[in-house]
Symmetry: C2
Subunit: 280 residues, 2 copies
Amino acid sequence: MRTRWADESYQGIVRTGFRMKRRLFKGKSPFQTVEVVETSGHGRLLLIDGMTMVSERDEFVYHEMIAHVPLFTHPRPRRVLVIGGGDGGSVREVLRHKGVERCVLAEIDPLVVAASRKYIPKTAAALSDRRCEIRIGDGVRFVRETAERFDAVIVDSTEPFGPAKELFGPAFYKDVRRVLTRDGVVVSQAGSPFYEIGTIKNLMRILKPVFPVVEPYLFTNMTYPGGLWSFLYSSKGPRPSRDFKPARVRAARLPLRWYNARMHEAAFALPEFLRKAVGR
Amino acid sequence: MRTRWADESYQGIVRTGFRMKRRLFKGKSPFQTVEVVETSGHGRLLLIDGMTMVSERDEFVYHEMIAHVPLFTHPRPRRVLVIGGGDGGSVREVLRHKGVERCVLAEIDPLVVAASRKYIPKTAAALSDRRCEIRIGDGVRFVRETAERFDAVIVDSTEPFGPAKELFGPAFYKDVRRVLTRDGVVVSQAGSPFYEIGTIKNLMRILKPVFPVVEPYLFTNMTYPGGLWSFLYSSKGPRPSRDFKPARVRAARLPLRWYNARMHEAAFALPEFLRKAVGR
C-alpha cells in the first residue's frame, strides 16, 4: 500500500508531513475547515484549514508553555480567560493550578470544541471540569462586553488571518487590559521567529503602548514549521523573570513534561537575530 | 509546472520537504551519497544519504552552537580539532575566535569537502583559512594515532550509523580524552530529544566514565526533524555554566545570529521529560 502523508505546506517553501493511518473527521463550519487524522507516529492531529493545531504526541509543549508561564508569574491567579483554544489543551493546563477557581473559554467555533471532545479527549477532557465555562462566540466581542474581571488572559489563537485576525489588533488588547485585575497577565500566540518574525514585531508594537511589560518567549515543538515558536508575555506589572518564584513551581508538583522552573527562565533568552529584531 | 520537493523521511513517520528549484550535484563516495539542491526558500541544501545536513538559511544555528559553547567555556582555546564537519561550517565558527591558532579538520569523505567548497562556499570558505588543516581520513584513527594535543574537540558527526558509527563508541572517547590538554572540552552531536532520546542517553553513558563533566544542551533549527536538537558538552574540568564568563562573549563582538551569552546559559535548561530521562 502506498504511504499516505498528512502534509502541511507553509509559505509555499516548506512542508511537513505526518504518516497517516486514516482520516477520522472532516467538517466545515462558517469559520473554517476542521479535520482530525490518525497518524502512525504522532497520535491524532487536529487540523484547521490544513494547518496542524494539535498533535497528541507533542501538544503538551505548547499548552504547558502558554499556561504555566503566566500562571506561575502572576502572584495568585484565580480567574482565567482563554480566548480561542477550543481543543481544551490550554484549559487543561490552567486547571492544574489548584488556586484557579474559574476558567472561561471563549471559542468562536463550536465545531472545534465538538471535534476535540470526540476525537482528542486527552486534550479536551478538562472542558468538562466544573470550573470551566465554555462561551461559544467571538472572543473580541466577549472582552469588549463582559463585566467580569480576570487575573490572566490566554490568547490561544490560530494564525493572524481568517477568524483570528482581530486578535492581532490594538482595539482587542485595550479591551483585554480593561478586563484584567491589577496584577493581570496576558499571553498571546505570536508565530514562528524563523519564518514570520514580522508577526512578533507587529504584535509587540501593538502591545507596548497598552502594557508596561511585554516580552517574547520561545518553545519548540515537533509539528509546527521550523520547530521554534513564540508567545508574547505582557502584564500590568509582574515581570516573568524578576517576579518569578521557582520555589512555587517545585511546590506545586504538577505532572508536566516540558515546563519547569529553569525552562521558564530559559524561554526568555532570545537568539541574537531575534533579540536585535525586537530591540531588546 | 508541478512543485517539486526535496523530502526527507525520518523514522518512517514524519517527513520534511523543502521546495526545490533544481539539483546541483549528486555523487557517490565509498562512504555515502552526497547531494546539493537549490531550494526556493532555504538556499542550498547539502544532503548525505538523503538527510539534510546543512541548509544555507539556518546552518548558522547548528554551527554557532557547536563551536561557541565549548570555545567560550574553555579558558583559552588555541588548538581545536573538528571531526566530521567536512562542510566547513564548524571550522568557520571556530576560526572566528582570534585566539585559535590552529584548527584541524579530520573528515573521512573528501567528496563532502569538495561538494561543499564548490556549492556552499559561504559555509565552506573557512576551510581555506591558513589556520585550518584538512586531514582526509578516519577521525577515529586520527585521535588514536596523533601525537598532537588540542584544547577542544568538536565531534560534528552524522547519525549514529554508517560511517559515523564509531564516533558514538567508548574507545573513541578514551582517545579523545588522551588528545585533550588539561582543561580540554569536547562537544558531540547527539540527535533529536523528541525522536531519539536513546541516542542522548547512550552517549551520556559512554561519556560519563570518561569525563568528570557531561551535560546536554539544546538548540532548534528549521531543517532537522522536530526542530529541537542536542549536543553533549563534556570536559576535563570547565563547567559550561559555572565557569562561563558572559563578559568574554560581549568583548569578542563576533557577528553571530543565534549564540549570545544568555542563549549559552539557556541552552543547558532541559525540558522536564529530558531532564528526567537523563537523571539530572
